[in-house]
């Protein structure tokens, strides 16, 4: 029992992201409406962003901005243990904006689909394609 609680405390963050990610995956596979699929894709992306940010965390570390850094370059030694890993933050910083941009493209495509088929329901679109 003690082992289980220890495992839970050490890993529950990953389980939350996996749950979120699977919600997104399920929405992308099973939902009929294209906009709901796009929302599922966004949930998936959010799960990955959270996953990366949690990789960067470190016990006893603060945000990756050097304290008293202004105007005193190299005057004091910086210890790696005091700051969390900046790299995942960098990667996710760009990923958030890119995910907004891809959301825009996805919505643009959905608008084109709607203009052509007058519906966003996947089965109705497929039926219209088969008729032709």
């Amino acid at each position: 029992m003690g082992d289980l609680i220890q495992l839970l405390v050490a890993k529950y963050n990953y389980w939350i992201y996996i749950t979120l990610m699977m919600i997104g995956l399920y929405a992308m596979i099973a939902k009929n409406n294209l906009v709901k699929k796009i929302v599922g894709m966004n949930i998936f992306q959010t799960a990955i962003i959270l996953f990366y940010v949690s990789i960067g965390s470190k016990k006893g570390g603060t945000i990756p901005i050097i304290e008293h850094g202004h105007g005193a370059a190299g005057s004091h030694v910086v210890h790696a243990a005091d700051y969390i890993n900046p790299l995942p933050h960098v990667l996710m910083l760009t990923a958030i904006v890119v995910s907004v941009a891809t959301l825009g493209v996805a919505l643009a495509l959905a608008i084109k689909v709607y203009e052509r088929y007058n519906t966003l329901e996947e089965d109705e679109i497929l039926a219209q394609i088969r008729e032709k």
């Binding site: 405390v9 699977m22 099973a30 965390s57 850094g69 790696a80 890993n85 941009a101 825009g104 203009e115």
Partner: protein, 276 residues
């Protein structure tokens, strides 16, 4: 389909949860992610770039290529929305609505008809028009300058506090989008025209790539900002800090313009006629 999807999602989730057994614990200082390249960044950033905010330094200097192409991705997304949706040579709408400002009377103008062009008494309104809302418009008028000021601060202060080109650019773009939502799309388009917006979008990417090319011309590697020292008249380490700032401005402009561009295209379905 629903059952299949559920089974796939549960199977994949179970596999991933099983795989977390090998993952490092949350906040483990000895995890692979925090032991190889991360200490190098944390300990050397200050002496190599004189930027206290490591995220900004890694973003624009150590991983400059990555960020440059991310900016290009955003630019391409804006262009793709434009190409997919924009309708030119607009077939005139069947009827457009005008509102007499003084009396509040709405008139419909059929295709081909026009109101007197020099008349200030009429304003064009959307089909889904709602009456003038004092609270929303006044609040937005008060808020938008401060949002923009904050966006500029976030861009300019990215060296010393959380911030940078991406965040500041999104805040600036959001202020214009807020303006377009609170008034209407045509009013916002009169402030930032489509052509200017597209030009700004390209300018941002150009500033970034141009800074890199300038470094190349000055004899160092692409995006090695130390080369700017001779132009800026500072030592190479401060030159890196300034180079990062120039690049962040480019990113901010590109992100702001792209957000506005995408919003304009998607909300008006490329007609630039009526927004949300």
């Amino acid at each position: 389909m629903k059952i299949t999807g559920l089974i796939i999602a549960i199977l994949a989730g179970a596999l991933l949860i099983y795989a977390t057994a090998d993952f490092p614990g949350w906040g483990d200082a000895a995890s692979p992610a925090s032991t190889h390249v991360s200490p190098r960044y944390i300990e050397k950033t200050m002496e190599e770039t004189s930027v206290p905010n490591m995220v900004t330094a890694v973003l624009a200097d150590y991983r400059g290529f990555d960020t440059m192409f991310e900016t290009t991705v955003i630019f391409s997304a804006g262009v793709v929305c434009f190409i997919l949706l924009r309708v030119f040579g607009s077939e005139e709408p069947k009827e457009s609505l005008y509102r007499h400002v003084l009396t509040g009377v709405t008139i419909r103008v059929r295709a081909g008809g026009e109101i007197p062009p020099d008349s200030d008494d009429f304003e064009r309104i959307d089909v889904m028009w709602t009456p003038f809302d004092l609270i929303i418009k006044t609040m937005c008028r008060i808020l938008i300058p401060f949002i923009q000021l904050f966006g500029l601060y976030v861009i300019a202060h990215g060296h010393h506090s959380p911030g940078g080109g991406f965040q500041g650019g999104v805040i600036l773009g959001a202020s214009i989008i807020l303006f377009a939502i609170s008034h209407d799309l045509r009013t916002a388009l009169r402030r930032i025209r489509e052509r200017i917006d597209a030009l700004l979008c390209a300018t941002g990417v150009f500033i970034y790539a141009g800074t890199g090319a300038l470094c190349l011309l000055l004899g160092l590697n692409f995006l090695d900002y130390a080369a700017l020292a001779s132009i800026l008249g500072v030592d190479p380490i401060t030159a890196r800090s300034h180079g990062i700032f120039i690049v962040e401005i480019g990113v901010g402009i590109a992100v702001m313009a792209t957000m506005i561009w995408i919003y304009n295209n998607v909300s008006s379905r490329g007609k630039y006629d009526e927004g949300l």
